[in-house]
């Protein structure tokens, strides 16, 4: 019963949060000078003043702020995220077109970074002064410090230009003819470099955190007790210590759900990956309010879902969480 109440409370707060995200962002975007008519004029190489006024009338931008906000919120409550001024199509369709590419990129990068990061973090925690530990620390710091677009360009120069193993841009080669597996491998080839670039940030986070928590856990009393009991070291580390050390890593991974949009923007732009990140970037540049708000709505939704999933995962690995209800 406590669980049901807990979920219901969370859902209530989630809806309030989503509405607040929309109202706040709608207001913030409207406070900025200029509007989408200017960016449409930019895309056209300039426009007559009459055309600019017409664009503003067409999209209701000539209406008072409160009328525009009311009209937008009314549509959202009817599950309509509006119509993109710039792309001239429904925002929901626009987002749904881009979501699969971003999910593929971000989840592959996350999973890869999580598996390798945690594994290397644990190994280096066991021998904090070993060569591997220094090696992991170096790569983690490098991944964290290097701007991701720079890493992306370096990867392109190395693996697309010098040794031409991977394609440069996009998600697929549209000139390719073949069956499912031909296209599947084509997408995998296109995915490799963007995933490496994006996972370099996540890898840094996970390996550093898991190394630190694992070192702390390995120094705790119960681990010493387990060792004293004569349990094999592998069992102590991977069966007992790792489970406890994972909690902060899972929490961090949950927080990274917001990276579905934010983390992927630069990587998607460098690799022309047709995802939500590039759409967000282009919509902000274009001041395409309905699209920006739609993406923020989706992003907020991902964070909320991510937090819920994190809770479930923590319950699975940590009995104390289950005991709390």
């Amino acid at each position: 019963m406590d669980l049901v109440r807990s979920v219901a409370t969370r859902l209530f707060y989630a809806i309030i949060l989503l509405l607040a995200v929309l109202v706040l962002n709608f207001s913030l975007i409207h406070m900025a000078p200029g509007d989408v008519a200017d960016t449409i004029a930019q895309s056209m190489g300039g426009a007559d003043a009459e055309i600019l006024d017409q664009i503003r009338v067409d999209y209701g931008l000539d209406q008072p702020f409160i009328v525009q906000l009311g009209s937008y919120m009314g549509r959202v409550l009817r599950f309509d995220l509006g119509y993109s001024y710039f792309y001239q199509m429904p925002v929901t369709d626009l987002i749904l077109q881009r979501v699969p590419a971003t999910l593929l990129l971000v989840f592959t990068a996350q999973i890869l970074a999580l598996l390798i990061g945690v594994m290397l973090g644990v190994i280096s925690a066991r021998k904090p002064n070993g060569i591997l530990s220094h090696f992991v620390t170096f790569f983690a710091l490098f991944g964290y410090a290097a701007p991701v677009f720079w890493t992306g360009i370096l990867l392109l120069i190395g693996f697309s230009l010098k040794i031409q193993w991977f394609p440069v841009a996009g998600m697929r080669d549209v000139t390719l003819i073949g069956g499912f597996w031909v296209h599947f491998w084509d997408v995998v080839r296109h995915l490799v470099l963007p995933v490496i670039a994006l996972s370099s940030i996540f890898f840094a986070l996970y390996s550093r955190l898991s190394r630190a928590t694992m070192m702390e856990t390995l120094g705790s009393d119960y681990v010493r007790t387990a060792k004293a009991k004569g349990l094999p070291i592998r069992s102590v580390v991977y069966k007992h210590a790792l489970k406890n050390a994972l909690s902060p890593v899972i929490t961090l991974a949950g927080l990274q759900f917001s990276a579905v949009v934010s983390g992927a923007v630069l990587v998607e732009t460098v690799f022309a990956w047709p995802g939500l990140g590039t759409l967000a970037f282009q919509s902000i540049i274009a001041r395409d309010t309905p699209t920006i708000l739609g993406i923020l709505f989706f992003s907020a939704l991902m964070v909320i879902v991510g937090n819920l999933l994190t809770d479930f995962a923590l319950r699975a690995v940590d009995p104390r969480m289950r005991a709390r209800g």
Partner: protein
């Protein structure tokens, strides 16, 4: 009639030259897929309601215009097999290709030309193109007569490139708003050599040859895939590793120079005269020290343009001394080039009543909009002007709309800007200098500049059909603006075409780059 014969003669001569040079080269082969790039997603594929170079690349393949232009800025037949300008200059008759059809097989008729003119007049961003057209007569299915309120020489360029897309009345005349018509981006029925296969925003536009194209044997290519790759470095690498064949409108100096040294690819800055992009320093002439022409001239003398050309543009840009692109036949190079002269700059500032005190004369702001390449030029100008006591504060503007607002309301002192000519001065030049167009939004007269003689010259030139007289009028206009310095012209934007050596007849001829049809482009094995 005189113009008709002249037009026919030049068309025949050009065709003969083309035929001879083609014979001297290899014989074109049909087939293959050309992979080109777009720097962003086109908002609309239909150029009748949307301008811009991104729409231009795909729009000019799917929609034909009445005319095309050669390297010498001479009109050539396209959808119009011939044309005639009346003696009084008040009508232009277009004789259409008789076997031309839209992509759904419907014939292209004179009524479609009349309909297209109506749509463009009402919805295209460049109102000046067809504003003097009062009506279009259609005496028969293949003859369209454009009647004008006054002579309008700009009409010829306005009927070429991407500027005048002939669109089907039976599709777009269904009562829906042509600006937001659903067939602008889906199931497009065009009049050009290629038809739409698939448009995926953020990914690509795929086009394939239209088998019913009126000109026998054309287009040569089976397909054009226009891939959307926003990052210039990624485009260059994709070209070098053979993923793409063609990248146009590249203006990043480091990228251009890198590709120049690469194997298997070529670089050219030919074919951009019609687009006519110019980088300049805009000055607000309505307030503060910049109201004084001597201050503006002093600024021009204090900036070492050669330094910018060498160190910032790295030798990729052409000099531009006026607001008319240096490739245009109307360009006047005989104006003051404002060579670096700090003594002269200091003398002018003293004369203007801004004495030097402790190495400083006055403070001024310079807006920095996040456009590629603007930062180094802005920082150089700040440093250069400090040498004559003008202390520049750089204000970073977060995005284009914020900057457009500042410029459009004359709420700024100085800013770099890049503005395109779009063929004829009436289309893309006048807007910057006419008193009647002050502060009418972005890329209007955002300098607040007003000179009665300039207004008069531009009005006269807009209606002068005699090319030599017209050239003289624009020459005087350029001299006055050069002396008044509402704008200090830096250079032509170094737009380049980067292409694989497999690409034959690349779009470096003519004046519209890829904003013109690629029906004669072919791929060598």
């Amino acid at each position: 009639m005189k113009h008709f014969i002249k037009g026919l003669f030049s068309a025949t001569a050009a065709t003969a030259i083309l035929a001879l040079s083609a014979a001297a080269q290899e014989t074109p082969t049909s087939g293959g897929t050309l992979v080109a790039t777009l720097t962003g997603t086109p908002r609309v594929l239909n150029p009748a309601v949307q301008s811009g170079i991104v729409t231009g690349l795909v729009g000019a393949q799917m929609f034909a215009a009445p005319l095309r232009y050669d390297d010498g800025w001479n009109p050539q037949p396209y959808l119009a097999k011939s044309w005639e300008v009346s003696e009084d200059g008040l009508s232009v008759t277009l004789n259409l290709q008789e076997n031309a059809t839209f992509h759904d097989g419907e014939p292209i008729k004179s009524s479609d030309v009349a309909f297209s003119v109506d749509v463009i007049k009402a919805h295209h961003p460049f109102k000046s193109m067809f504003a003097p057209v009062t009506s279009v007569d259609t005496p028969d299915e293949h003859t369209a007569v454009l009647n004008l309120a006054h002579p309008h020489p700009a009409l010829m360029l306005a009927m070429s490139g991407q500027l005048m897309a002939i669109i089907p009345e039976h599709i777009y005349g269904d009562g829906q708003d042509p600006k937001n018509h659903p067939r602008n981006n889906e199931d497009v029925v065009g009049s050009g050599p290629f038809k739409l296969v698939e448009f995926k925003p953020g990914e690509h536009v795929i086009m394939e040859r239209y088998d019913g194209y009126w000109e026998e044997g054309l287009p040569y290519l089976d397909r054009i895939v226009a891939r959307i790759i926003p990052d210039s470095s990624a485009r260059a690498i994709a070209l070098q590793n053979g993923e793409i064949h063609l990248s146009t409108f590249e203006s990043e100096p480091t990228v251009v120079n890198r590709i120049r040294e690469a194997e298997g690819v070529s670089v050219s800055n030919d074919g951009y005269g019609g687009i006519g992009p110019i980088d300049w320093l805009a000055m607000n002439t309505t307030k503060g020290p910049l109201k004084d022409v001597r201050v503006r001239q002093a600024i021009a003398y204090a900036i070492d343009k050669n330094f910018i050309m060498k160190a910032v543009m790295r030798g990729t840009a052409k000099d531009a001394l006026t607001g008319v692109h240096p490739d245009s036949p109307l360009y006047n190079p005989d104006v003051n080039s404002y060579e670096l002269d700090l003594d002269k700059a200091n003398a002018l500032l003293d004369e203007a009543g801004f004495p030097m005190e402790d190495g400083e004369r006055f403070d001024i702001t310079m807006e920095l909009v996040p456009f590629p390449g603007y930062k180094p030029q802005t920082e150089y100008i700040k440093q250069a002007l400090s040498k004559v006591g003008i202390m520049v504060t750089i204000e970073s503007v977060p995005d284009f709309p914020s900057w457009a607002k500042l410029m459009g309301t004359l709420d700024y002192d100085m800013s770099l800007d890049s503005v395109y000519n779009w063929g004829d001065p009436v289309i893309g030049v006048n807007r910057t200098y006419m008193t009647s167009n002050i502060a009418k939004g972005v890329w209007s007269n955002t300098q607040g500049y007003s000179n009665a003689r300039v207004d008069e010259l531009l009005e006269m030139a807009a209606q002068e059909n005699d090319q030599e007289k017209r050239k003289a009028l624009y020459a005087e206009f350029q001299t006055i603006v050069n002396e008044d310095v509402p704008i200090y012209f830096l250079n032509a934007v170094p737009m380049h075409t980067l292409y694989s050596d497999k690409v034959q007849n690349p779009p470096i001829t003519g004046i519209w780059s890829t904003s013109s049809p690629m029906d004669k482009v072919w791929l060598k094995d």
